[in-house]
Assembly symmetry: D2
Homo-oligomer: 484 residues x 4
């Protein structure tokens, strides 16, 4: 229903953003601000849980943070100096409120709330075992598995039970947990999904991206380390590393598309990396042309980089409507095909008779690329060259990113020549995988790569238990109640 | 928010009605009709669950059945030939949707849905034990306890697990359970809450009252027996009695107030019993007067009985608004006190100068009696005599009826003289407990009474475990998440 | 959407109720209370206009007074010591808010608001003339005609303009007008529709029925006289009679059905008149039987009258659901036919094997009578005799009452024998027209009848201009904008 | 509630956009598309009226086109081959639906609907005269004046009445009128507000901007001429010029800010003009710096022009949230001041230590400029120079643009030095009025200027009757009904 990036129909989608505050009188209000700044990481639903020293308070809603979490009455209904929040996309069709995080359970030790960015890749197997032993699940979320593992653990303290649970799960997780004793922030041993820590006065803040710290006026302190648990009680902080150490593999797509350009991820400015990818593209795949035109908005930094490196002028050849926050559905069959122009319109006076270079960040299915190349031609472009600021996306992600089935990925189906024909471009080029690593300051991608780049290379850094048991997964779906 | 009986502010409230259908193509539609006919048993929320052979489908809503369960789209969203439904009041302040029944869980054996009329009097104790062993509760409802007992039972078949669970609970329960194998209807060993079985063509129907069978055009077959489990698979029915047999003690207040006058409860017409109580009252407590006036609407049958027995004319001395379905809140402080007349208005032309006998079914706090006696005096009544068609209500109910704290019951605080003064009546009389049993065809209440009359006598037929541990109950409430 | 009288599908419907207050700090709150008490006169929409000495404030809503006019915020949005309100049915299908009264216009003299009960029978002709001269209508309401006549009058003072306007209209009107100078209440020269005046402290109150005064705690002062204008400025009152005097003809159906039984209309208690009609019926059309059963709720007073006169016991043979405030729509074709039992259910235990006399207030189309006779037979009645507390309804009303087309009136199509067959009763009788006048204290209906009884007799007391020009009316409807 | 341009709190706001179609089976769907493309011209409310040969159909809604006019059910409710639509801001606080256009009236000649972009500058005077003669206004809109002038005109044909009406009004108006005979498009004699004509197959289309033609796939035909009436019946078109000819004065602010960059207004590409203004600014007011940063989004074209002319790199120094479609209200007093960063965040990694040139299109109150300069300093900018792509805005507009009171215009209160101090910039410069005319291809602004530039120069091209009578205007406002 809600879209944001103008041509986002053909993007990979980050599935979640998380944000937590401990030690502030305005905890819930800060979480609302932080989630709003992370809205691009999940626009389907949002939730905030606070703890006032006695009770946990939760508000969940389908839709955006704005409109659902910005009234005084909502914020007042979330009292306490500790709060966490979550924005999400769903991977399955299940969009019910009961799946909206933070999830909550009453354990023997008291309330337990959790917000999760990532995906547990053996969640279905664990769930079957738990149900067999009498656990009753409230949601279809993989995150709930962690809670039941804590509830049924044989360890005594809550912290030991939590670590016991984490040692049984595989996959990607950045987690914010709230208990009556305090908040725990943690990141999986490979650090696949991001998580940073900041401070605002005495308060401790955790967020998926630094931009959420900026918006709150907080200072960035450091990234939470892969495999680290940061334990906060009030404003006191301690850190433990209960897992066997491994070489980190953070997701490289955060720089390509997921994170906002004004965020700094693992010491790299996202904007600078994107401009540098554009420069690499200009060096690797030059072409004679009159104009460099970004595909708005995510293609802009790479297009500026390409234009500056090539000396070809950067121009706004595609004007996007300011009103994409709410999608306009073209009514009536006769006018349905006009939809694409509602979001973008070619700047015909500029383009007519010109050779244009379009710069975009990625191609997933290729549907949008096809339309936008055609839009340039309809506006009278003499030549249309498409440059993509990432390598070809050939593999699905199982770590908390919404990817289409592999068979729908254009780069899985076609080689460069086939893709060029499909989108009717005069030329098409992707940055190389080494070019991408160069833009991040590496010499090249080597034998022990520093990032998770499985979507480009198929090199998955963990086992994928549930993928090998998908038949049983279907059986489970059969049993689920449908709440209408 | 919604009220129905005009003077219902001062009534005991039945907490639930249940209705189930097996073997009909219109299962959900029939359940909606049946729940509408049972609406007086619970007006706060309603829910229906259906099973289509593969999936369970549930729709829950706060508010009435009408408006929430009568659209084609809602009924279409509840496919299948088996369905159960529930209407409820809440006893606690917790009115969230997650407490609205039928409750549902995915067990190892598949889906499990339950609708419950009654109250488990050791639910808090059982809950603490279950949480200690790792169970996570979704609701604050006592009914969920039964589901977790089933999930964690060591027996093998679902039926054995269910019986194992029931043997651990104490209190009052009429239950409708749905599993992929079929429906189970059961009534606690004392049969405290009612449950009847009927047929509509091949379909089997269960309902809290016969009026719900009438509305569907179904024929009444028999009451489910105390301690009986009726197991229905499609249209096949079998019955088991797994509990040790006990003398039944059905709730006598069903005839006094809860059930509709057109229902037949355990072979007694409710209308006839109420008229007979009125006749007993006329015999026990006669008075010279000009008019017999019912307190609308629940006092009407007893008033007719009183008038016929005494020969004093029955007249409508209180006119009630037709618009009580939705409460009008008098706005503004200056006019707030006028509220009572919005629902009822004295028929001044009739009453002026007359000696009137008011007949009502019961007195709980006495607040309404006070107002209505005053209303008669304001309209010019020469004398006002109040006759109550039940004995004094002196004790709380713990079997699924919403009773105020005992200290708020007028008959607990005052004797007849004190009550007469409190409500400013010229005279006040209640039917005797023996008179009540006589209206039901007994010679008198004897040493082994045939009904649960604890609200009048304090003679509770079961132990009340949670009542003796109420301190711990409070601690539990402390931990609950508040969903805003 | 909303129904109230249980069997009201087959009733004539009063189209409006009006209520006004001058000189109270709680003017709007009192109007809300008063309208709630008049809800039975119009349940489709409601509106209140207040004047604070500077501005007029209006709130209009589709639906009931309760829920729309009982929040503090709505009442606070209607400040001032003068306020009027209106509840309505619509006669046409046009249910838009713009037709909801009070209507408002800015004239040269300032704001002008009007609430109208009745119907202008030459409204279409006047409208055509006004449009021809350049007036632009906002609504399709006949009431707006009066406002344009005032706006375009050649007289100088507002009062003279208003009288000039009224002299051009024909038909039925009780009006409450608000201007910056004060309030004007008036009743057409025949007094067809009711209007009474009361006092609450210093405040002056006008209402369609006395029950609205009761609810506010106001005292009844007198009826506004036919042809009278009562002019109120603050709490000062004066009266003028600008029309040529005529013999009044108030609507007799107010006693039969429209007014509440606790209202006093023109010195007659509605309850007493209805009981007396029942007694007349018993005298005119006796029958041997076991039970007298009212068709709830409007048949109750006449049934009590019939029972007392005949000595046959009054019993509740039809139990109505308490939940008729909101109509339950039976979902699904298979269960649609069960709808009637949702509202009423036969008290089978009472009726089985008995000879019953049903008493109802009127028959319009006969559809409900047919169903209710059948319901008695299904419940095992040995004989079913129907007695109607009004003469046969044979003619349409053009004075503000919603009547079906004449060809749909059962008494227009069939004689008594035909009607008896149609509804499958063992016998059917209506009270005679003279019996009806007797119940009102007259010897009989004479040559100069004291009431408008056109629906029974066809004797219309005014000309019916628009009825003779209905072709043109249709053309006008053609031009109307449809606001979707 | 809804905002669009990121820093639009401090912009002048065009008040309306209009769009009409004649001769298409998809008329209403095309109008919905067209209005969506014109959403930037009015975001408060929208309306569409269609004519199906017999009836007019209207749908109006507060809020955006998307969400209100894009459902099939809404479009189906607007049948017919002729339709017009309107998007609006309100100038007054009156945001009621009754002011939402198209306005509609039933005249003697039949239905009459009108959509208006502009403002009638003698509307209050005309209104007083009309009310004096008996006209009753439905709205507080100046547009309704035209309708009443038509209704009361002494001419015979509707066309003559319409021309008679237009000759009495002064000010700015582009109008689309629908009658049963067809559509009339017209533009005031000075052509102050824009209006263009296009074709889509046989259908004739009118729109405020060419971008709305693009979105529908229509071809641009020509601008409607100042003083021209284009009369369309089905797909037949004829043109008349009933007014005395005058030199046109179209609004120059359309190129500065109002129109979309991809529109062509009077043969000038808006994007090209804005880039050229940027180049003029670079020539008139150069400064040594490291980066040219646009104030998003409206400053982008001028910033590109400035960067290309100066050779200083164009960079994204301010990142705006994608989620400005719906404003997030910072909840709670403690975090309220953080609001500005919700919409924009400085790209700190880029800015730190740099000398930056900010380019924006205009300054109205100066509040946003102050914040954005501070944002640059907080991010570590070494110097901040602000360049404005229009002359200082010193005068209010009375031709359909929402301007603050003159005393609130920063450029009215302060000279350049004062403004520079106020916003804490290192330097501030505006393009000169001659520079602006140069960007439009003129040598300079001469004695008979080709544009209305009154907001910069105070040189109003018409009389301003109502401005001289504002005391009376207030009195009128006193009388208005407030619909709550």
């Amino acid at each position: 229903m809600l879209t944001t990036h103008p041509f986002d129909d053909d993007k990979l989608r980050e599935e979640c953003g998380i944000f937590g505050v401990s030690g502030s009188d305005s905890a819930a209000a800060l979480v609302a601000l932080g989630l709003h700044a992370l809205q691009h990481r999940g626009q389907e639903a949002a939730g905030i849980t606070s703890f006032d020293g006695h009770h946990f308070h939760t508000h969940r809603a389908m839709g955006h943070v704005a409109g659902n979490f910005d009234s005084d009455s909502v914020i007042r209904s979330l009292p306490g100096s500790v709060a966490t929040g979550h924005v999400r996309y769903s991977t399955t069709g299940e969009t019910a409120l009961r799946n909206v995080q933070p999830l909550y359970a009453e354990l023997q030790s008291g309330g337990f709330a959790v917000a999760h960015n990532g995906n547990i890749s053996n969640a279905m197997k664990l769930r079957r075992d738990l149900v067999r032993r009498g656990s009753i699940f409230q949601s279809t979320s993989d995150t709930e598995t962690i809670i039941h593992l804590v509830a049924t653990s044989n360890y005594r303290t809550l912290l030991d039970r939590f670590i016991d649970a984490l040692k049984q799960v595989e996959g990607a997780y950045s987690l914010l947990v709230m208990t009556p004793e305090g908040m725990i922030a943690c990141r999986d041993p490979l650090g696949i999904r991001p998580l940073v820590m900041g401070r605002l006065g005495d308060a401790i803040i955790f967020a998926s991206e630094t931009v959420a710290l900026d918006v709150c006026g907080a200072t960035f302190e450091r990234a939470v380390e892969p495999g680290e648990l940061v334990i906060v009680q009030g404003t006191e902080v301690r850190s433990i590393h209960p897992f066997k150490q491994q070489a980190p593999r953070p997701c490289i797509f955060e720089w390509v598309y997921f994170s906002r350009p004004d965020s700094i991820v693992d010491d790299h400015s996202v904007y600078s990396v994107r401009k540098e990818i554009g420069a690499q593209l200009a060096a690797e795949s030059p072409v004679e042309a009159d104009l460099v035109i970004p595909v708005p908005d995510s293609g802009v930094p790479a297009a500026i980089g390409y234009a500056q490196a090539s000396g070809i002028p950067f121009e706004l050849g595609i004007i996007r409507s300011h009103y994409v926050g709410r999608t306009f559905i073209s009514p009536g069959d006769n006018v349905r095909h006009l939809g694409v122009k509602l979001k973008h319109n070619a700047n015909r006076a500029l383009i007519e008779g010109k050779r244009v270079i379009l710069v975009d960040d990625s191609i997933v299915r290729g549907t949008t690329s096809l339309k936008i190349v055609q839009m340039m031609r309809d506006a009278g472009a003499a030549e249309v060259h498409l440059r993509i600021a990432s390598p070809p996306t050939k593999h699905s992600c199982f770590y908390g990113v919404d990817t289409p089935e592999r068979t729908k990925l254009l780069a899985h189906k076609l080689d460069i020549g086939g893709m060029t024909d499909f989108i009717h471009a005069d030329s098409l080029a992707f940055v190389s995988i080494d070019g991408l690593y160069k833009a991040l300051g590496e010499a090249q991608r080597d034998a022990r790569p520093r990032y998770c780049d499985a979507c480009f290379t198929g090199d998955y850094p963990t086992t994928l238990t549930d993928q090998d048991e998908s038949a049983e997964v279907d059986q489970f779906a059969l049993l689920a109640e449908r709440v209408n």
